[in-house]
Amino acid sequence: MTTFLRDTATVFSREVRPALRNPVALVFEMGQPLLFLFLFGALLDGAVGSSWQWFVPGILVMMCLTGPMSSGYSLLVELIGGSMERLMVTPLSRTAMLVGRALKALVLLLVQAVLIILMAIPLGFELHAAGVLAGLAQLVVFGVGLGAFSFVLALRSAPGGTLFYVVSQSILFPLLLLSGVLLPLESAPAWLRAIGQVNPVTYVVDAQRALFAGDLADPSVVYGTASACLIAAAGLALGVRAMRKGLIRG
């Protein structure tokens, strides 16, 4: 166990160092969510009540979909290059290789989430501390699941990589758009709402909005948490299976 923790720390510190060396890049990576936040937020102000209250949680879910997914991408790049192979010839724990990476993605996500919240406060975002903390905890669970899915996808896609791009591009955007992250689904036609109803991300988004509004007792919180936990459980189960098969090609 102690070697596992040491190995996880080794991987985590390897992964996090480039971000620490260049913290400005962290803000640039947030460019797209920030742009969405400010453009759509200004655009929708009044249309959905307080647009910041409505938008901030949506943007956080969006970052959760792109952040952990991109950690799968960085794994894929290392699988295609030689660096993953080199690490696999060392005694480093295979599980720690993935856990350390996932931890880095989650820490990054939390830092970015806090930055977004801090930036939104002066614009009129109302901070409900307990709700926000619960919301961030839910995001972490959701992020663990998504990160695991993206690792599995990366492992399956190596050495070519095409599969990764196809799946992540064709699934990520529909999931995002059909979850009501950017535009409210309430005013959508019935068929679109029906699709939204089977999208697990929708429940997480709804729960996040309730939590960020301070409604910890809202029923959507239960559904959202259940959805996040299911995604995490499914992702981890697949991840463990992929690990057992060996992190190896061929």
């Binding site: 080794t10 510190s13 390897r14 030689g82 660096s83 080199r86 010839v89 005694p91 061929g250």
Partner: protein
């Protein structure tokens, strides 16, 4: 250091069984520098991947550095070093950071790992590049970094997969200088694949040739060349007719006015050969002898040339 018995590995490619390695036996003693040669698809890389624990064998056993690759991979990993065909360093990471990480992977404490990283930066002339990322290095510098990464834990046995492929002659010479110096200083056992046959010929003490998943030749470069190929004697005559008669008399092949024949020892065979031709009244214009290459060995064994093979990028 390496003992493999009846090693096999099969893959399923589109529902078809492909036997990449079929019954490979191999023994490498400590301290040896062995070159592992073979055409693309011969099973070289698969064998290397099995020996470095990256791939479990389908059947057979392999003991590397005293431990079984299938049942004790962790013990094998702790004792071997590996420099793969592709670049070992991650693109996002600085040169020195990757060396420190590598030390941590082998359980060194942060301070020990940092000290070892600095030691290797000096040893491989990488110190000025410590803060750069791999993308900004030249091909030769990247390869030196790969070598440094493979040496962090002072392995007794180092596997090198195409260590000099794609490098310019100067960088190739540099890499070899480092490899040989390392060997002299620490007595490291080296097992490497290479596409440059002349490299294997001049650097390796032992050459193992693999084809179709089996070892087809094994010995010192000199042994293989003497036993399996022999020297080449090339004679030219004034006319094609003379060439044909000469070929018949000495047992060679004629092509235009050129006659070629293989003999175990050209220096000893030449006078006899010329005397025979003199007696047959064949006028020899030029006579030349060439030592065989490892490619001639492969050609003699399989009827194919290794040099025809495309060098992988």
């Amino acid at each position: 250091m390496i003992h493999a018995r009846a090693l096999t590995r099969t893959f399923k490619v589109k529902k078809e069984r492909v036997e990449a390695v079929r019954g490979l036996d191999l023994d490498v003693e400590a301290g040896q520098l062995t070159a592992f040669l073979g055409p693309n698809g011969a099973g070289k890389s698969t064998t290397l991947r099995i020996l470095t624990t990256l791939l479990p064998p389908t059947s057979g056993t392999a003991t590397v550095a005293g431990h079984d690759v299938a049942t004790e991979p962790a013990a094998v990993r702790a004792r071997i070093g590996y420099v793969g065909q592709r670049s070992s360093a991650g693109e996002e990471f600085r040169v020195r950071d990757e060396l420190v990480t590598q030390g941590r992977c082998y359980g060194l404490r942060p301070r020990e790992a940092a000290a070892r990283a600095d030691e290797l930066l000096d040893l491989l002339d990488l110190a000025p590049l410590a803060k750069r990322t791999p993308g900004t290095l030249s091909g030769g510098q990247r390869r030196r970094l790969d070598l440094a990464i493979g040496l962090v834990h002072r392995p007794d046995l180092l596997f090198l997969d195409e260590p000099s492929t794609g490098l310019d002659p100067k960088s190739r010479a540099e890499i070899w200088q480092h490899i040989l110096r390392l060997r002299e200083a620490y007595g490291t056992t080296l097992f490497l694949t290479t596409h440059y046959l002349e490299e294997a010929d001049t650097m390796a003490e032992r050459v193992v040739i693999i084809d179709n998943g089996r070892v087809i030749a094994d010995g010192t470069p000199e042994q293989l060349k003497n036993d399996l190929a022999g020297d080449l004697v090339t004679l030219t005559t004034g006319t094609a007719d003379d060439a044909a008669r000469a070929a018949a008399a000495v047992g060679g092949t004629a092509e235009g006015t050129t006659v070629r024949l293989r003999v175990p020892n050209a220096a000893a065979a030449m006078p006899e050969c010329l005397r025979t031709l003199d007696a047959k009244l064949v006028e020899v214009v030029t006579a030349e002898t060439t030592r065989p290459t490892l490619d001639d060995v492969f050609l003699a064994l399989t009827g194919r040339s290794l040099a025809d093979d495309d060098i992988p990028a």
